[in-house]
Symmetry: C2
Subunit: 230 residues, 2 copies
DNA sequence: GTCTATAAGGAGATAGAC
DNA sequence: GTCTATCTCCTTATAGAC
């Protein structure tokens, strides 16, 4: 046992500090010196543990986004079992999609920081950041898109894709600047209240996803054994 | 007349270049040296014309956001005349709110850059940037919120505010990374097609705004001349 | 493993010649 | 008005003592 009264090891302190500073200033805007000052650690320690600024960023992301990623699949699998492969109501899919990040983003004490980190990362201009993120979330994305497609089968694919992007965009926009949202709405919207946030998202986007189609209907998949034009 | 065959003066070249580099890398991520290289201008020219990096940023924003701001009010005023101060359909308000930035963001040649600039700026972590932006758009925000409130009077204020943020968030999320959206949707969503983008936004969010309420009904404003509890 | 000292380069901003 | 040279500060990263 190593000095039981010490709060945390330097590695964890640096990760916590990095998470905070990245959330505040973005990847480029955050400096390692700010981070180690906040962490009460030494600059060289960062390089010893994480190799580089980019390595630190990867570790910061993995710590939070890894569990979210796993829970995403768990929740969707559970829904698919419950509905036995049939259509799942859009409300349930939306809940399953938004709950994992929301749960992580309301971790006691660090909730607001994690919330802002998610929003910051998703909208970060740095291609390194974008690549890292999209690579990990591509399979989640397609899994949820498939579920939605089965749930609103008559909605053209293009419409579904637009509305899916809108939903995700609205969500991360609020995550980006939760205290700003609260301020500009005179406290009537509190993103820190995960239940209210989720309820509002589900209400708005289940209606949005069920709205009438805009595009022309998808051309149905060709049937090999049948012909229409004879 | 000054050398008629020269394409543009240095001021304009710098503004164009800055717009591009800010859109690509954000305010902090963009360096003046990158900008002047792109503009084929001299570093000192930036300071001569704009005073500082922040001054350059302000000018870049004003050039694009000023006209958008004016058109916002024009379109809303025209709608209010047309409907003589009564309720305007939410579809019309949404159109009036999204058309000015979309028109600007589809300027021939520079459309994609301006689009990304808007998205980048709105989600930029820098407080300077945020302050500058919100100060100019606060009055537009309240004007459109008022219009929506009259259009869906039975919707609780809190619900309206949430949905308004969702709408704005979805919009700027797409603006942030239009080519990414197009790529991840296999070309089925083209943000550069302003008509399609607008149509999809209006369809999704007019339904979202008309969705059933989530919060309890607002307490009606007190009437001075009347009492309910006697 | 931990820390100090420092390298090497990029940033914003300015002085001063022309 | 325009440009070169430079100042000063801050950045990521590393070498090497303990």
């Amino acid at each position: 046992m190593t000095t039981p009264t010490q709060t945390q090891d330097s590695q964890t302190r640096i990760l916590d500090a990095a998470e905070k500073v990245f959330a505040d200033y973005g990847f480029k805007g955050a400096s390692l010196r700010q981070i180690v000052e906040e962490a009460k650690a030494n600059l060289a320690t960062v390089y010893y543990h994480f190799g580089s600024k980019e390595g630190l960023m990867e570790t910061v992301f993995k710590r939070r986004f890894g569990p979210i990623h796993e829970e995403h699949f768990q929740m969707l699998r559970r829904l698919e079992e419950e509905y036995k492969g049939g259509a799942i109501p859009v409300e349930k899919i939306l809940e399953a999609m938004l709950t994992p990040p929301l749960r992580m983003a309301t971790t006691p004490g660090k909730g607001e920081t994690i919330m802002r980190l998610i929003g910051r990362v998703v909208t970060d201009p740095n291609p390194q950041v974008q690549e890292l993120l999209r690579r990990q979330h591509r399979d989640v994305r397609t899994a949820y898109l498939d579920a939605f497609q089965r749930s609103v089968p008559r909605l053209p694919k293009a419409d579904l894709l637009w509305r899916f992007e809108f939903c995700w965009g609205a969500f991360v926009f609020v995550l980006c600047n939760p205290s700003g949202i609260e301020k500009f709405t005179d406290g009537m919207c509190k993103p820190s209240d995960a239940g209210a946030f989720l309820g509002q998202m589900v209400a708005a986007f289940s209606a949005g996803l069920r709205a009438p189609a805009v595009s022309k209907p998808d051309r149905p998949a060709k049937r090999v054994t049948q012909r229409r034009d004879t």
